[in-house]
């Protein structure tokens, strides 16, 4: 497949000076945080164009995070679905998901900026564990904010973070889930800005986070494009990934965005479909699609996967949806649980519930993609979800 002629504004390139992707993005933060965001943007621009920083980052990805991650061909499942399914195996990374890419990038950057402390939000705990890991590796202090409800649901991850030397603080406000953990982390950052870096876990938040986090995950798409060409001699017809905030999707999409014949598909949980059900709004520093009521109060997402339990979405996804470069569809919890079991039985892979969203869509739409090559980002492994799935499935039988 020929490369597209380059367009004047490259898709998934650098955002505008005011941090916009089309009409989305921006920097809607309390005044206290503006200089910190500016400082971070400057530091990131310098680091990202500095070969020494890139080399250090790539070295850590290779020697610590276990990159490049594999591209696996699903022989049995492909036959059953009537298409060629390839999995980008981010589940095989250290700490079990794609999250480690961004975390290592930001932690290195924080160290370079002279920050001694990391704060982070977490939903299911994957980003919190990854951040605690990077903090331990680089000798930084770490505080993770986690909704009190999520701390109960994911107590093993709470223990993991503590084992790694991080402090886990409960977010006690609102729905006491991911959205509130972000609020709490932002409040903490306002209060402790001088020596602290806020290590945001997705392609969301104020500029430069959506852009910076996508760049740290670009490696997923860059590797996958090369691996796919080696394996199949060409590019995939469809690239699909789950979308909560949207970091794993942004990472894999960025490797294919300039290839117009490759469909990019993001899958949202039906209970947290910001693009599907939301309208433009501003929360957590960004203008993006947002689930909200008629007055602008943010609604609470509800999904079987805590990692996608988020009423907003990264602003670049809103832009990709607006310009029609990527498509976004919802799947419901039942479809996700079926896909979770399907992958386990047919390929011997227990996926994270988040990642199972992408497979649920592939399964549902298989007839429309007959004979095509579908590249799916398997963003994380499902160990953390096994107990939850067990209790749901046991509940169904009784």
């Amino acid at each position: 497949m020929a490369l597209a002629p380059s367009s004047p504004v490259p898709v998934m390139g650098t955002p505008s000076d005011d941090g916009r992707f089309g009409r989305f993005g921006g920097r809607f933060v309390p005044e206290t945080l503006v200089p910190a965001c500016q400082e971070l943007e400057t530091a990131f621009r310098r680091a990202w164009s500095d070969p020494a920083f890139r080399a250090e980052f790539e070295h850590l990805l290779r020697t610590y995070a276990n990159r490049p991650s594999l591209l696996s061909e699903c022989t049995r499942l492909s036959e059953r679905l009537g298409l060629r399914l390839l999995l980008k195996r981010e589940d095989l990374n250290h700490t079990g998901s794609h999250k480690i890419n961004n975390v290592l990038g930001q932690a290195l950057l924080a160290q370079r900026m002279g920050k001694t402390k990391l704060i982070a939000e977490t939903g299911a705990g994957q980003h919190g564990v990854a951040t605690a890991t990077a903090a331990a590796l680089l000798g930084l202090e770490c505080v993770v904010y986690m909704g009190e409800v999520d701390m109960g649901r994911q107590s093993l991850n709470v223990f993991r973070m503590r084992l790694l030397g991080a402090e886990v603080r409960p977010a006690l406000s609102g729905s006491r889930t991911l959205k509130d953990a972000v609020n709490e982390a932002m409040r903490a950052w306002v209060s402790d800005i001088a020596d602290t870096h806020y290590l945001l876990g997705s392609v969301m938040g104020p500029h430069p986070y959506p852009w910076m986090v996508r760049e740290f995950h670009r490696v997923i798409g860059d590797e996958a494009r090369v691996q796919c060409r080696e394996l199949t001699g060409g590019d995939p017809d469809v690239v699909v990934a789950c979308v909560g905030g949207g970091s794993n999707a942004a990472g894999i999409f960025s490797g294919f965005a300039e290839l117009p014949e490759v469909r990019l598909v993001g899958i949202e949980p039906a209970g947290g479909a910001a693009i599907g059900r939301g309208v433009p709004g501003v929360v957590h520093g960004m203008l993006s699609y947002l689930m909200q009521d008629e007055f602008g109060q943010v609604q609470e997402a509800e999904s079987v996967s805590a990692g996608l339990d988020y009423p907003g979405v990264g602003p670049e996804h809103s832009h990709l949806a607006d310009i029609g470069r990527a498509e976004y569809y919802p799947v419901n919890d039942d479809e996700v649980l079926d896909a979770f079991q399907l992958l386990a039985r047919s390929e011997g892979i227990i996926a994270a519930l988040e990642s199972a969203h992408a497979l649920a869509w592939v399964y549902r739409e298989r007839a429309t993609m007959a004979g095509q090559t579908v590249l799916m980002n398997l963003s994380g492994r499902g160990d953390k979800d096994v107990a939850q799935v067990q209790s749901i499935l046991d509940g169904r039988q009784s």
Binding site: P30, L33, V34, P35, V190, S191, V282, V283
Partner: protein
């Protein structure tokens, strides 16, 4: 509506320090009575919160007040409707404080018009910094609503000057690195930020965030033109104090800064 900046300048010219107490809009059935009581206690302006689901600039007290208001079914429209005519009645300008999504969802022009129609003088939108404030601030200007901007200790001098230039009504000096809420003592950054602002603007400079006692208010006013007090007063109300008791606490602040 009352011209916020002219009103505050006039009070300042008479030698008064400016006292701006805060009420969470829709907090309970008597919240508008609290405005009247604050006016009687000597408020120069009153800040009224329109509750938002995700108030990132607010600490536990205002969060609790916001939740309580939202649970009563409070909406931006209900707050503005209940404020209609109140400023004229009490002779004190009103400033709403809310987060940008409330403004954005309503639409800049429509929101500004609604505030103006209710006789409200100004608006504070704490998650709308200078660079993003343009479209709202222009709509507010057109409707005669003063856009009060926050200025924080983290800003370099040049940025403070730009903020003061765009601010209308007064400049809200953020006393400390942190969110709203009661504090044991006045932050060491409070007087510093007020001094830096006074050096670049003759607009009224009013310190807020964390001012919790009459003594702290007096100390802040040694440099600033006035203070905002929010959490300390709302804490009393949340803990069951009557309107008269909260107003009495406000009066003690008034007396302290007049002292």
């Amino acid at each position: 509506m009352i011209d916020l900046e002219a009103h505050l300048r006039q009070r300042r010219a008479k030698g008064a320090k400016l006292f701006v107490p805060y009420v969470s809009g829709g907090l309970d059935a008597e919240w508008v009575d609290l405005l009247r009581a604050f006016a009687d206690a000597g408020a120069d302006a009153i800040e009224v919160g329109i509750p938002f689901s995700d108030p990132v600039m607010d600490g536990p007290t205002i969060q609790e007040a916001s939740v309580r208001a939202l649970e009563r079914g409070t909406t931006p429209h209900s707050v503005v409707a209940e404020l209609r005519g109140v400023a004229d009645e009490i002779g004190v300008p009103l400033i709403v404080m809310t987060y940008y999504n409330i403004v954005f969802r309503a639409g800049h022009e429509r929101f500004a018009r609604e505030l103006a129609a209710a006789g409200i003088s100004g608006a504070i939108v704490p998650d709308l910094p200078l660079e993003e404030a343009g479209p709202w601030a222009e709509a507010a200007d057109d409707a005669g609503i003063a856009t009060v901007l926050l200025a924080a200790p983290t800003a370099p001098d040049l940025r403070l000057a730009h903020i003061c230039q765009r601010a209308r009504g007064f400049v809200y000096a953020v006393s400390l690195l942190g969110v709203t809420g009661e504090r044991q003592s006045l932050a060491s950054t409070a007087v510093g930020i007020a001094q830096r602002l006074k050096a670049v603007t003759d607009k009224p400079v009013i310190i807020g965030i964390g001012i919790s006692t009459p003594e702290q208010a007096r100390e802040a006013c040694t440099v600033a033109d006035g203070i905002v007090m929010a959490s300390a007063l709302m804490r009393l109300r949340l803990d069951g104090a009557s309107v008269a008791e909260v107003a009495a606490a406000a009066r003690r602040v008034r007396e302290a800064i007049d002292g």
